[in-house]
Subunit: 208 residues, 4 copies
């Protein structure tokens, strides 16, 4: 699986813990956000939410690990966009249930609140459980089908309730879009020429 | 403040606890969802998320208290729509920080996972803190302005990223919209003739 | 390892979850307490704490898994006796740290408070971590020696601060000791004739 | 109420948070332990547990707020002595239940594990609930009497199971007792000449 780790500024010092906790699992990890609190250029959860949505919608990654101080800001930001299904994950049981029941493609971690000593171990425990079960397997097992139906409906609603990403990219103000497009490494990850949807490719091209 | 409590089926047995915990706070509480697990007609988080979004967007309520087994499903459902800013709230510190930092209009409670003995007291503690601080006051105080800017940007993005509610109402499949519109009491709450936005009023009228 | 599971009355309905979560780990599990809330004869945490201390001090088991509604009562009861070192364990991180840092021989689980849906899975996660590390291995690794010294000192203090178990058995009122000695199966587990310490053997014999 | 705050070395940097969270509650607060990680002279949980027991048994304070990295070490140390009833308190619900059900005289806080941003607020919430209810009031109310009986039995057992404090003071090795007696301010707090129990007064005098 291709997993993007995307940290905003206030909890960017946790980035090393996240990267370490994801190591050795056989996944391709893309460290797409900040790695140090307050470094420049700076990304807030407004930007990391958008980055997550873009990478997921373009299929550049399969999963995003994000977060912020409490986890609520990134969650609310990433969830503004179509096709993002994000869990607020504080411990390994949250992770294990979210993966099986909700089968989302994004998690938001609380990286300052409650983030004390041994929180790096807690991250490892979270990823152990998140990736040890089949996404969308259903829990408990006999509710698999009804949970699957809910997820399918949610995916349909997400498309109906949102503008197409091309329209969003066209509409977003510079203060939101530019820090994302100009963030070191993001343009390469985005790979605009390779975007197959012509409207979306063109939307990005016009903002660059 | 007008607060809607909206429970889906799997955790509807917690409804009485939520209602009791909200009592005596001087708010108008509207019990808009289910009150008993598995009763008929049944609402899943797909429906309660939509109900929340409709009531908030029409200004019928100021705040929604929702949730589901883990809190993740309702959260992901309600957040599909414009103008919904929802926190995943497990304890009183979550509530206190979310109110001040994120200033959202919705919370999603975990009503089965971790919901054991004295969880009704925990709900009371959550509401004590949620409603004891000024929404959007900022925390810590010196970050008030930057947090306010993020919230404002998020509200703008929400409008840009979503279809207008009228379009969503028109597009949603019957399996999503009908159980909501036909849920006992919801039509009165919705009060279609009183909707000022003509397009939105008309969208509802056409689905009834 | 020989592990005793010892439930008091208020959370005895969780016994089946604990037993299931301990299964298949290669340990010998002795279900020494209650298995159903309110059954007769009834054990309170006063009794289960004493049972734990007796079994540990006699070497009948290597480890005790106890608990009560919040976990605090059993903890305070078991810790009255010499040679009991008990952690209050709520999640898998607690378990992992306690095993390595404190290297105790007893845990107290919160079996009503916070014990909701999927709490049985949480128990499994707790035991996964509790038994996956070397007891007393030290965490972090470089503090191994100083943590070991603290544990050794604590064991010494425990002996100095307490009466010998024989004296305690002799002194305890009937209301505390008799329900323990008469609890179905406990006498066999205790196996008085096999107690090597003559004073202790005699103390038990005189109370029977 | 007279409350002693007693920090060991690994979490002594949290002392200022604890003191601030206890402020303005009308209690007399005695800051008897360390205030800075690694300062000299250094106290481990071995020492702070003993200090707690001495101050409680002599009636110098009514309540002790202690803790360590995870809370388990101080808990196990303080609980070695007679007359100490200690809760492991992580959040405000723990505090509220422990005060009413267990009515103890000591709490052990987790001051590194899970101690992240806003943990100072969490401490305030803990003390808000710990001191807002009557100690030993019983919860739920109808279990008041049976909980009271358990507490009374536990107090009796504590006396029977332990050596008298005088004997403990006499027996403890220098490495445990001396750092306590020599800790700045502790001797004044101890006030040996004022100890009414002649045996205990004499035990302290002989170790000084």
């Amino acid at each position: 699986m291709r997993i993007a780790v995307i940290n905003e500024t206030s909890a960017a010092d946790r980035n090393a813990d996240i990267m370490a906790a994801l190591e050795g699992r056989g996944h391709t990890i893309i460290n797409a956000g900040m790695v140090k609190n307050g470094a420049k250029p700076e990304l807030t959860y407004i930007h990391t939410g958008l980055m997550s949505a873009i990478l997921l919608n373009l299929g550049r990654v399969d999963f995003v690990v994000g977060g912020c101080g409490t986890g609520q800001g990134f969650l609310n930001s990433a969830m503004q966009y179509p096709g993002v299904f994000c869990g607020h994950i504080v411990n390994s049981l949250d992770a294990w249930l979210f993966a099986q029941i909700n089968g989302g493609n994004c998690i938001s971690l609380a990286l300052n609140q409650g983030y004390g000593w041994a929180a790096d171990v807690n991250l490892r425990f979270i990823f152990d459980r998140l990736f040890s079960v089949e996404s969308g397997a259903g829990y408990p097992a006999h509710r698999k089908e009804s949970q699957q139906q809910s997820r399918q409906l949610l995916a349909d609603i997400s498309r109906m309730a949102h503008q197409p990403l091309a329209g969003i990219v066209a509409a977003l103000p510079d203060s939101v879009l530019r820090p994302v497009l100009e963030y070191p490494g993001f343009r390469e990850l985005l790979d605009v020429p390779a975007i197959q949807d012509g409207e979306l490719r063109s939307a990005f091209q016009q903002r660059m």
